[in-house]
Subunit: 212 residues, 2 copies
């Protein structure tokens, strides 16, 4: 059942196009670069690009799928005895603490944010993806807590978690774009997370504690 040449080439061209596009976007901005240029730089036909990526935004957002569903993954993977909010706070702190400017949370994050912030459509798509992922989170918590159909608490808590996550990541992004020292950004990010924890009510902080 070895992967045939066809599928390998397919994966390669897709990856190649995505790489070339990302490089061009980071270099010259999302709006400036045209699909025709991407195709030419990747040595492919324009329609081949559209064959792999339905819209221009997908050329860039494709590789950020992992970032989008991070909330759900964090909550789903939390240890016993930890609440949903607690898991997100802990993961956020770990991500910020254990990061150098070239690995983990910060890896290419400044470039990423710079491209995102200058393109309305990109922000819109990313937001839509996160909204979709939020539904997963709500479903997860609803299943875990056994919440009823009409109970809106899971939705509200999920919204709070999303707000928290989005605010921290957004703040980090803007600070990284400002080209500050990563160490300083990390320290202030931890302060920010602390302050945010204080703004969460006891109800949110203790919601959906995973049982042993």
């Amino acid at each position: 059942m070895a992967e045939g040449l066809r599928e390998r080439k397919k994966r390669q061209t897709r990856q190649h196009i995505s790489d070339v596009a990302t490089r061009l976007f980071v270099e010259r901005g999302f709006v400036t670069v045209t699909i025709a240029e991407v195709a030419e730089a990747a040595d492919v036909s324009v329609n081949t690009v559209y064959n792999y990526f339905p819209a221009k935004e997908d050329l860039f957002l494709d590789r950020s799928k992992g970032v989008v569903d991070r909330l759900s993954r964090w909550v789903r993977g939390r240890p016993a005895g930890e609440s949903a909010a607690g898991a997100v706070l802990r993961e956020l702190r770990e991500a910020v603490e254990g990061c150098s400017p070239t690995v983990g949370l910060f890896e290419g994050y400044a470039d990423f944010m710079k491209v995102i912030t200058e393109a309305d459509t990109l922000r819109s798509r990313l937001w839509a993806l996160q909204q979709e992922s939020l539904l997963d989170l709500v479903a997860t918590m609803r299943a875990e807590t056994g919440a009823g159909e009409g109970d809106v608490l899971p939705d509200l808590v999920a919204g709070q978690l999303a707000w928290m996550h989005g605010t921290v990541m957004g703040w980090i992004g803007t600070e990284m774009v400002k080209r500050r020292k990563p160490a300083e950004v990390s320290r202030q990010a931890l302060d920010l997370i602390d302050e945010m924890e204080e703004l969460l009510s006891e109800k949110v902080l203790t919601y959906a504690v995973r049982d042993a």
Copy 2:
């Protein structure tokens, strides 16, 4: 200083185009209707449309300016002794309570939401407008509380208020689109606001109390 014929005509055509476009969008959806159709229905040239509205989205979002900066207006206009969050909660309740399906908060809101939800670009633009308005809110609270430059508390609280407002309005919107009875929607919306109030920490609920 009477308004000349010129400016009156200008206002009329702008209003006319906006009306026609909105009607078409509600009837047939945002993406389906083309600018050319709007121009033809309004008995105007295509470029005249672009002359008044820079982008297709502006044809619809133009009239929702008042909705976007509602948060700022609510906070700025709150009476002495009331906190920022308290003002938003009170205004939300008043808006929901004092509304029939044809006036106030609910006036055309179902149509509005239906058009918005089916168009990514519209959601994006609306979101951007609200983000802009959020900066005003942050600036307002920063000035009122005398918060320092590096203090992120105003940003965090403003984000919380925006989350609250957005969640309630979004929920109402989706329920209205589902064509439920307005009275029922109102009642459940009040419950939702109550639950949301419980999820706000004491710190948020008492932040930026306006002094007498």
